[in-house]
Amino acid sequence: MTETPLLQYTLRLADTALVLGHRLSEWVGHSPVIEEDLAFGNMGLDLIGQARSLYSYAGEIEGKGRDEDALAYLRDAPDYRNILLVEQPNGDFAATMVRQLLYAAFAHPYFEALARSKDAMLAAIAAKAVKEMAYHLRHSAEWIIRLGDGTEESHRRAQDALDELWPYSAEMFETDRIERALIEAGVAIDPASLRATWDKTLDHVLNEATLERPRDGYMQSGGRVGRHSEHLGHILAELQFVPRAYPGASW
């Protein structure tokens, strides 16, 4: 890999948005009620829109003529830099909403901070994304409260999902050498600085939802350097099939 830190960083943001957007799109046509079908479609669209802007910018940074499509469709799993949380299977409705809450409670303050980045393009993309993530956060938080404080079964399913996905939450707050230089330069955001905000949001929602916050134990990591769970390959197989089978196809 000869990617510059800025390129790596931008791809991490882009891949995370794309993979989560793709996961949400999988619900379209399968949601429990039509309103949630629309909600998943809309949230997926927000994320894929963010990914498109980020990929276009990554292509510019790289300067090798790769556009958003080339970056999304023609890279293999080890080149993907998304966090592991977003590639986890949708599971049931509760699991998808827990995953959305864990991510949105992080992404909202993250993009709010990134909107002040010294990199003008990242700041512009973040300033749009923060508005969208506010609605994702409100929507997923309301559902987690409804499910957790709902029936015995909805409570159990929400708690199971929370326990299952918790080990993937720490990766959001990690930094490495690549990001530290960018953080010092005022380009990237130090995610550790958002931990208290995230904790507060989670505690508030989980308390309302009568759900128990899992204890921090062994935490999963590696997505941002290309070490993925088996799930990403399956996502990419579906996501990339058409452009790979019919290169340059258009309609």
Binding site: G21, E35, E36, L38, A39, G41, N42, M43, G44, L45, D46, L47, I48, G49, Q50, R52, S53, H108, A120, M121, A123, A124, I125, A127, K128, A129, K131, E132, A134, Y135, L137, R138, H139, A141, E142
Partner: protein, 166 residues
């Protein structure tokens, strides 16, 4: 609006042409009503329309860009350009009062008051576009397009779209 170098009358005419393009998903609103059309620049006789997306993933943007080009060409502006900018990020605060009135008449509740942090956990009070009652409730945060939420009126029992604040 930002700076331009060309004859103001020419720019005004180009603006009026571009501003006649409507949002394909909400055809009662022009892109000027929406605040999507940000500027018209004219350099060496070439018209450039500057637009900004409402939402990152708004699928109407390609269509809008194409329609601006066609409208400008038809009005005699040769080889017009359309450029999309992200910053400053679009906000419902840019929607004109005329645009809000048109939305209401069309059956969509316009965004209430200022955008900003209220989107987070604040509750909007939205008036029903059919009967005007404020006895309304949100059904879903997300509606038929990215920019709308789904509401219902408890007074007249009609469901309606609400153009949400961002």
């Amino acid at each position: 609006m930002a700076t331009t170098t060309a004859d103001p009358a020419l720019r005004e005419r180009a603006w009026a042409v571009a501003a006649s393009v409507c949002d394909p998903e909400i055809p009662v609103l022009s892109i000027a009503d929406l605040g999507v059309l940000r500027d018209i620049r004219i350099e060496n006789g070439v018209v450039e329309a500057i637009i900004t997306p409402t939402y990152s993933g708004c699928p109407a943007m390609n269509m809008i860009a194409l329609e601006i080009e066609v409208a400008l060409e038809n009005a005699g502006f040769a080889k017009p350009k359309v450029t999309t900018v992200l910053s400053p990020a679009w906000t419902t605060d840019w929607m004109t009062e005329a645009g809000k009135a048109k939305l209401r008449e069309y059956g969509i509740a316009p965004p209430v008051a200022k955008a900003g942090r209220r989107a987070l956990f604040g509750e909007d009070q939205v008036a029903c576009p059919h009967c005007g009652s404020t006895e309304t409730a949100r059904i879903s945060e997300f509606g038929s397009t990215a920019c709308k939420a789904l509401w219902r009126c408890k007074a007249c029992a009609e469901p309606f779209d609400y153009f949400k604040c961002i």
